[in-house]
């Protein structure tokens, strides 16, 4: 299974729908997408991970990198995830304290810092 990415804009928010596997092979594709969006001036990102089948530490690193990029522009990076096996990785690494994690895209879009 490869990595599938699609983006759409909701006002000043950009939703990135991610599907498939985020690992050492596919993570560069996600990183490139996040970098492109920031370079386009999109600083409020919502990463919808509901269709992610696999996430490893390389993927976590890319998300942390994306968060640092948007924060450099006073932006935000919010995650949407309800899958326990994915959430477990965020808990193990303590990243639940770093990323706002929402249960729906609508909640993530409506959230403010």
């Amino acid at each position: 299974m490869d990595l599938n990415l699609s983006t759409r804009h909701e006002g000043d928010r950009t939703v990135i729908e991610v599907g498939g596997e985020i690992d050492v092979y596919t993570a560069p594709k996600l990183r490139e997408q996040l970098v492109d969006l920031v370079n386009q001036g999109r600083y409020h990102l919502v990463v919808d991970m509901e269709a992610v089948d696999f996430l490893d530490s390389t993927g976590l690193g890319v998300l942390v990198g994306g968060l640092k990029r948007v924060r450099a522009h006073d932006g935000s990076l919010r995650l949407v995830c309800t899958q326990e096996r994915i959430l477990k990785i965020f808990r193990i690494t303590g990243l639940t304290k770093v990323f706002p994690i929402h249960t729906t895209v609508e909640d993530a879009i409506a959230a403010t810092d």
Binding site: D23, Y25, S57, G61, V62, I89, I92
Partner: protein
């Protein structure tokens, strides 16, 4: 890379020299062959695309030997993390040296060993965001950029885990209980 190349560089071996004790035969020192029936050995070039194949093989074998379904995701993630780490190390320091994964279908424990040939501690992975992006104070992974997120995941995920780093390489040993042995029924 071509398909032919991929096939050449991800080659399951019929037997390891010196098995089942596993000492010698060109393996990294310190590799201990767990007792088991029919171990599977993967040897692959340190390329990111091969990590997925190693994950798939590990999960397929774990399922076959009777690791309970609820642990298969853990096997998948742990083997992926260990192999990703090894790929990162090799690509930085030994790009022409293959990574070796031993999968042992023991009767009570499914054991996995991921062997790298790179000495010393963790080396930043080329495909990662880079040490600067991984060292943010709010990420919880330290300021020095040397923290290994993969090992952090492994330590938090796997109860039966042993990490051995030697002057000639490293070995990550992991194991999961076999709940419903395939040979028992």
């Amino acid at each position: 890379m071509t398909g032919a190349h991929a096939a050449d560089s991800l080659a399951p071996l019929e037997a390891e020299p010196g098995s089942p004790t596993g000492e010698g035969g060109g393996e990294a020192p310190g590799v201990k062959r767990p007792a088991g029936g029919a171990p599977v050995v993967l040897r692959f070039a340190p390329l990111p695309e091969h990590v997925r194949t190693a994950r798939l093989v590990a999960v397929a074998l774990a399922r076959r030997v009777g690791v309970e379904d609820g642990l298969l995701d853990e096997v998948r993630l742990a083997v992926g993390e260990a192999c990703s780490r090894a790929v990162g190390l090799h690509r930085s320091a030994a790009p022409n040296v293959p990574i070796v994964v031993h999968l042992d279908d023991g009767r009570e424990r499914f054991g996995v060993e991921v062997v790298d040939a790179v000495s010393g501690g963790p080396v930043p992975k080329p495909e990662d965001e880079g040490s600067a992006e991984r060292s943010g104070s709010d990420s919880g992974f330290g300021e020095d950029g040397g923290a290994d997120m993969g090992l952090a995941v492994l330590r938090g995920l796997v109860d039966d885990l042993e990490v051995e780093l030697t002057s000639s390489g490293g070995v990550i040993r992991m194991g999961w209980p076999v709940a419903a042995p395939h040979w028992a029924g």
